[in-house]
């Protein structure tokens, strides 16, 4: 359904996404993890060309066969929300503070489904109920809701036009642990019911593991490891994935008791030659510092961009291609 080929985005001269490719089937869920600034949001937003005008995007984004990167704006606008919607990071500010929730919920319905305002209201009320909020509160303003409720409204809004794809950019990051659990459970249920495909972004691996079938780990604008969620967590192949997994210790695991693990060094600012991770990599070699390191298969249905990863068999996935 969605096929991304060699997507590259740069802001002015600074590259933010440096060649990302993946495909996503209908109803499947892809989790994207990585630390701050590695290009997750940029990648996600570029799919619908929602980036500011300063961003230059190249590559291909084939959505149901149509390249969204070259589509006319009017066509693109038709796709937006009706076929692919977005749940943004921080619903506090992703909802317009001066318009009622009801207005904002029915806005895309009116726009895309060409319904009467009354029908749109009705649908909005249904949506509110489906996320566990009383429909009377459609007349309320965003600030009258708590953070968790706002995020639920955002999710309801994303489902408004029954899209085929939902892009969720850190939907629970700003929330409290308990609320986060509430929202994630809700999201998982709704996605299951609606059958939409989901791209879910987070820097918290544990959150992704609950919801997603497949995980992609990004570092320095690239996908450095990719594969089934469970496998990636229990048996990370890329050293960065390993460090990331280690940052969320399992309570009761004696290995991490009084023994926090982390990576020395800092996230990259400017990316030079070679593997972006090489400067922090505990076991980087010379090859890592000079040559490009591309994704290579690292197990059943998984791949990693590390020279140390043993290539299981001779089956080579075409360069940089992954399938979810």
């Amino acid at each position: 359904m969605l096929e991304v080929r060699d997507l590259r985005v740069s802001y002015g001269a600074a590259p933010a996404v440096r060649g990302v490719s993946f495909t996503l089937g209908p109803g499947s869920t892809l989790g994207v993890a990585g630390e701050s600034g590695c290009g997750k949001s940029t990648m996600a937003l570029s799919l619908l060309r929602l980036l500011p005008a300063t961003a230059r995007i190249t590559g291909e984004v084939l959505f149901k066969g149509e390249n969204l990167l070259t589509a006319r704006w009017s066509r693109l606008r038709a796709v937006r929300w009706s076929a692919a919607s977005v749940v943004f990071q921080g619903a506090m500010s992703a909802l317009n503070p001066v318009r009622t929730v009801g207005d904002q919920l029915s806005e895309p319905i009116l726009l895309h489904d060409r319904t009467t305002p009354k029908q749109a209201r009705q649908r909005a009320a249904d949506l509110m109920e489906s996320v566990g909020l009383p429909p009377e509160r459609l007349r309320a303003y965003p600030h009258e809701f708590s953070g968790g409720q706002r995020q639920r409204i955002m999710i309801a809004m994303a489902l408004a036009c029954r899209p085929d794809l939902i892009i969720a950019d850190e939907p629970t990051t700003a929330l409290d642990v308990m609320v986060q659990a509430q929202v994630m459970d809700l999201l998982a249920r709704l996605v299951r019911e609606s059958g939409s495909a989901v791209i879910m972004i987070s820097h918290d691996l544990s959150v992704l593991a609950r919801l997603c079938d497949t995980l992609a780990i990004m570092y320095g604008g690239r996908i450095v490891e990719h594969g089934p969620a469970r496998d990636l967590l229990t048996d990370p192949r890329h050293p960065y994935t390993r460090a990331l997994a280690g940052a969320f210790p399992a309570i009761g695991d004696p290995a991490s008791r009084r023994n926090p693990t982390g990576l020395p060094g800092d996230p990259p600012r400017a990316i030079g030659d070679g593997c972006a991770f090489a400067p922090r990599c505990p076991d980087a070699g010379d090859a890592c510092r000079t040559g490009e390191v591309l994704l290579r298969p690292s197990g059943p249905a998984r791949s990693a961009a590390c020279v140390r990863v043993p290539e299981p068999r001779d089956v080579r996935v075409p360069e940089g291609e992954i399938h979810a």
């Binding site: 060309r49 005008a53 006319r72 704006w73």
Partner: protein, 586 residues
């Protein structure tokens, strides 16, 4: 005077009504209450709408108006005015001597009523009207200027007793704003918007001749340039009193008649020479050296009045000498020996008087040991003051006198003046045909009392011989003789050098040639003219030109054009935007 369709008034619509439009006198109208008003704009209006006992003839002497004849008695203490019969106020009630007597008595006896004009009747002992046509004024002392007491504009306007009597109790709050005003004069005030305009219709039955226009409008402009622009664009027909720069510019305009009338005022310098009270007590912080006549003469010698005339008023005026301005030729006086512009002589005078130069080139007063450094007060709102001060400072510097300019508001200046807290001051006066008041300012009686009140002096001048002559001129009923006495007074002043008259600026009047003729515009030679709108003559005699322009098309045409343009442009913008936002990118 656009002959626009006269929708105002109830005249028959046979001939289109004509309107003369003039700029209101610059100061504007302070109040329409004739007992309280001081501003020239208001006095102008009263001159047009209220009668007076006398008018002014072209020589500046009293002429007939309500009174047809006026005679002093043998003892010079009683004046008898014969009042015209058959005149009526604009509300139809007859005008009688009783109206005049009531008005003058009210001013004489009531402090509030005397606010504006009390001084004119302060010498009156009694005013009575033995018959409707006879008015008798008894004065305390002989007073030659009685026929000047009630003249249009500068004198006391006579008001209808039947209208004002009920108001007399609370005169202070009488606004006099019921239109048309009940009065009598060449015009009737029909409408008045404070600080905007006054609108009059002609009194076609006016006893001294019917006005040439049907309506008169005086429009208020605070900026002279706005008024001039209005004149150029035909919004108004006449403006009195433009400044020399505007005058020069308008002279070049063929559509406009720019005429000078001889000046009725002077611009000059006051010198604080020994400020003191009536009892002779010294007051104030004036520089003691200014009491020295030699120093004052040196200042006069070092002043190049001709340059001031040329540079400051662009040559449109006369060099100043005597205390009374040339507009009133009967009193005009020229010194036998004119103090020349002679800085060398000035230096010599100073040297001889012992003012030696100090290290910084400023002379030292040998008596007080203080340098000749003076404060020089100027009116902050008067551009002529500022211009003149630049020259004076320069000239004084050349003879070793240092002046520091202090620019003060009128009110601050006046408050300093009475206290004697000043050295040199720019000053200006205008006067009507009766010089008594202006001459009186220089008499000893105007010095402040010991408690600081009661002062009405300019330079603290006080001279026994002068005071003697002042009394004499009041009792001299023959004009030639009286002029002789007044000439002697001016001579004393001239020689004292306490108020040095720089120049008499000409009145500069401008009028449109195409819309008005017959305005009494003067010529600068002073003979037989009414300076600007003296009395009501100018507006009375003005007529529309024979060949009036075709009535203007709708003056609003272009407005519609502009509105249309705006709409079209707005529409275009909207259409353009609709087009371009079809597939807008982000």
């Amino acid at each position: 005077a656009s002959a626009s369709a006269g929708t105002v008034g109830a005249e028959p619509a046979a001939a289109p009504a004509t309107t003369l439009r003039a700029a209101m006198e610059g100061s504007g109208v302070d109040t329409l209450n004739p007992f309280l008003a001081f501003f020239n704009g208001a006095l102008d209006v009263f001159g047009l709408v209220y009668p007076a006992l006398n008018s002014l003839d072209p020589s500046g002497a009293p002429g007939p108006y309500l009174a047809t004849a006026w005679e002093p008695s043998a003892d010079k203490l009683t004046w008898t005015f014969t009042i015209r019969e058959g005149l009526t106020w604009s509300d139809g009630k007859p005008i009688t001597a009783e109206d005049a007597a009531w008005t003058l008595n009210l001013i004489r006896t009531d402090a509030v009523a005397g606010t504006a004009n009390g001084s004119l009747v302060s010498n009156f002992a009694e005013v009575s009207a033995p018959s409707p046509t006879t008015l008798v004024i008894r004065t305390k002392a002989p007073q030659a200027s009685v026929p000047y007491t009630s003249i249009p504009t500068t004198g006391i306007p006579i008001v209808p007793k039947h209208v004002w009597e009920p108001l007399a109790k609370n005169l202070k709050d009488a606004k006099n704003d019921v239109f048309p005003l009940v009065g009598y004069g060449p015009w009737t005030l029909t409408e008045y918007k404070h600080e905007q305009y006054a609108r009059f219709s002609a009194n076609k039955k006016f006893v001294l001749g019917a006005p040439g226009f049907d309506h008169l409008v005086l429009q208020s402009f605070k900026s002279g340039d706005a008024a001039v622009a209005a004149l150029r664009s035909g919004q108004i027909d006449y403006k009195a009193g433009v400044n020399p720069t505007q005058f020069a510019a308008l002279q070049a305009d063929p559509a406009i008649a720019a005429v000078q009338t001889v000046g009725n005022g002077w611009m000059g310098l006051e010198i604080n020479h020994n400020a003191r009270t009536r009892s002779g007590k010294k007051i104030g912080t004036g520089h003691p050296a200014l009491g020295d006549p030699a120093l004052r003469r040196a200042i006069a010698l070092a002043t190049d009045k001709q340059t001031l005339v040329t540079k400051v008023i662009d040559g449109v005026g006369q060099l100043g000498h005597g205390y009374l301005p040339p507009a009133w030729p009967q009193w005009f006086w020229k010194p036998a020996e004119v103090t020349p512009y002679d800085p060398a002589q000035a230096r010599k005078v100073l040297d001889e008087a012992g003012y030696t130069k100090g290290a910084d080139g400023v002379r030292i007063d040998p008596k007080s040991g203080r340098p000749l450094a003076f404060r020089f007060g100027i009116h902050s709102d008067d551009s002529a003051d500022a211009a003149i001060s630049g020259y004076v400072v320069g000239w004084m510097k050349e003879i070793g006198i240092k002046l520091t300019i202090q620019s003060l508001s009128m009110s601050a200046l006046n408050s300093d003046l009475a206290k004697g807290d000043w050295d040199l001051l720019m000053d200006a006066w205008t006067t009507g045909p009766d010089p008594t008041y202006l001459l009186g300012i220089q008499s000893c009686g105007t010095l402040p009392k010991d408690d600081g009140t009661g002062g009405n002096t300019d330079s603290f001048f006080c001279d026994a011989a002068y005071d003697e002559l002042f009394k004499k001129q009041l009792t001299t009923f023959d004009q030639a003789e009286r002029a002789e006495v007044i000439g002697q007074m001016q001579d004393i002043l001239y020689k004292a050098n306490v108020n040095q008259i720089y120049y008499y600026a000409n009145g500069l009047d401008v009028a449109r040639k195409d819309t008005v003729t017959g305005l009494t515009l003067g010529t600068p030679d002073a003979s037989g003219v009414y300076p600007s709108q003296t009395a009501f003559w100018s507006y009375l005699k003005a007529t529309p030109p024979q060949v009036t322009k075709k009535a203007e098309k709708s003056t609003n045409l272009w407005l519609y054009v502009v509105i249309a343009l705006v709409i079209v442009a707005g529409g275009a913008v909207i259409v353009w935007r609709r087009r371009t936002t079809g597939d807008d990118r982000e």
